[in-house]
Amino acid sequence: MHQPTPRARAWPLAGLLLLTSLASHAAPDGDTLMQKGGANPAAMPCISCHAPDGKGMAPAGFPRLAGLPADYIRKQLHDFKAGRRQNGVMQPIATALTEEEIDALAGAYAARPRVNVAPQPVGTPPEGSGAWIALRGAWDRSIPECTLCHGPGGIGVDPSFPPLAGQGAVYIENQLKAWRGTPAVKAHGKTRAVAAVPPSRQNDPNGLMQHIAASLTPTEMKAVAEYFGSLGDSSEPFDDTQHRLR
């Protein structure tokens, strides 16, 4: 078998080192990207909407990114790029980000504090409330309780099921609507028919969310979004050792 000389082996290694150093020049660290935006000016600074601490701006519907799984953030940015997740603000930004920038941002947000949900006594939620949908579901409509996939207390299950606890209520409700689209309205009297609008968010694995969003009423969507928006605290570090009851 041919054995390359030590010298011949050294050259490809040197080339690799050169490439690596170039790549690290091209992608600044995630924290700088959040504050100053990407190399392309269209990739605006994340902090202007997601806040300097990455916790978002709940009343305006800008989601918390701090503590979300890196793989989840990476996937969302790719889905914005590909149009599987349609959003007038985020699609141009995601399109302007390079792959290296996406990786850096995803890693930096994932490294920030995750929402902690303190284990709490398990009671019976009021029937029909947001807490009921979150903790009991509506199985007669094939809607499992949210916590079955998003984890007890909505703490999230990496990497595919993001935390709901600590996420803004407006954002959660908007996502449920995005997965649902709007059904067609028939012409009635003087009103004209309105065509159905397909879901603007179609990036959920196996379509797990589309079906749920289509089966929830608007009132339930709002209530369950408000329930999760009211949970969570990141002043305490996320406690991995606690057994959380359902």
């Binding site: 199985w139 007890p152 606690q242």
Partner: protein, 316 residues
């Protein structure tokens, strides 16, 4: 030694099927139902227009000693490992197989089970009380130790099942009991095809190696094989039983979307992996255990060579 039993024709057909499926022969169109409910009268089909039995609303539970015991039973049902750790040898909870807290039809709802006991079970060749039936769940599905029949855990779980059955007719088979297993597909099942269904539809929650998913100390998605899952003596190790559960209930919230073929294929894939040993193991002998306990128990792969590996060795 199991006393001689009168096999129902369906059972004989299923035993034949078990062999036919393995050899890749076309399976006969016959019911594979041979689970531990075999001795019970078969659950009738539900008329499309009539609803499933409705267990009482949680809000109707009284605030007294009875209500407290029922609530305790529900809590154990949902958090079995956390609240009854001495009886649980894996990472499963009752609610993993009995969805919607034991309320969901075709997910072995408690309201359909409770009212059918005491009943004869071939599994231990005697008439079992409901408490004894639940002891079996702990020994096999939970791969643990059975709580005593008069223990606090079984009292609470019994109270919960009793309350869910409020208004259900005693001794009358209700539609939705068990898992309503689909007919075995004509061409048999195919483990390799099942692996594809698994990676497309199941792995996101149950993991590429069937390990499930945890958050910290809390198991969120249940392990389907390996040391933390149900053992080789659990009803779910039967491909026919798992096919029923999967078809009606999986993926979560999207039940009734897999075909009979897909349900059987993916059930066979899941149940072609190692899991904890059958606690009834006879003389450390897999073949003897297969003959005694698995040969007549639906369609299963215990003691069978799959891809050159003998299944049923158990994992710890």
């Amino acid at each position: 030694m199991i006393a001689s039993t009168t096999y129902r024709p369906a059972l004989l057909a299923a035993m034949t099927l078990a062999l036919a499926g393995l050899a890749g022969f076309g399976a006969q169109a016959a019911s594979p139902r041979t689970d531990d409910q075999t001795q019970l009268p078969q659950a009738p089909a539900k008329a499309a227009s009539s609803p499933w039995f409705q267990p009482p609303a949680e809000s109707s539970l009284p605030n007294n000693a009875f209500g407290a015991l029922v609530r305790q039973g529900q809590a154990i049902f949902l958090n079995t490992k956390a609240l009854a750790p001495q009886y649980v040898g894996n990472e499963l909870a009752c609610v993993n197989c009995h969805l919607d807290r034991g309320r969901k039809a075709n997910s072995a709802p408690l309201w359909a089970a409770y009212t059918m006991y005491p009943a004869y079970r071939k599994k231990n060749d005697k008439v079992n009380s409901f408490a004894e039936r639940m002891q079996g769940c702990f020994q096999f599905s939970m791969n643990g130790k059975a709580p005593a029949a008069d223990s606090e855990v079984l009292n609470a779980l019994t109270a919960y099942a009793y309350w869910l059955s409020t208004g259900a007719p005693v001794g009358q088979a209700l539609p939705g009991r068990g898992f309503d297993e689909p007919m075995p597909p004509k061409g048999g099942y195919d483990i390799a095809r099942g692996a594809k269904v698994y990676s497309a539809q199941c792995a996101i929650c149950h993991g590429a190696n069937g390990e499930g998913k945890k958050v910290g100390a809390t198991q969120v998605f249940p392990p389907l094989w390996g040391k933390d899952s149900y053992n080789w003596g659990a009803g779910m190790h039967r491909i026919n039983t798992a096919a029923g559960f999967i078809q009606h209930n999986m993926p979560l919230g999207k039940g009734e979307t897999l075909s009979d073929q897909e349900a059987w294929d993916v059930a066979a894939f899941v149940n072609s992996h190692e899991r904890p040993q059958d606690p009834r193991l006879v003389n450390h002998d897999i073949e003897a255990t297969r003959k005694k306990f698995h040969e007549g128990d639906g369609v299963n792969l215990y003691g069978v060579m799959v891809d050159g590996v003998l299944l049923g060795q158990g994992v710890k």
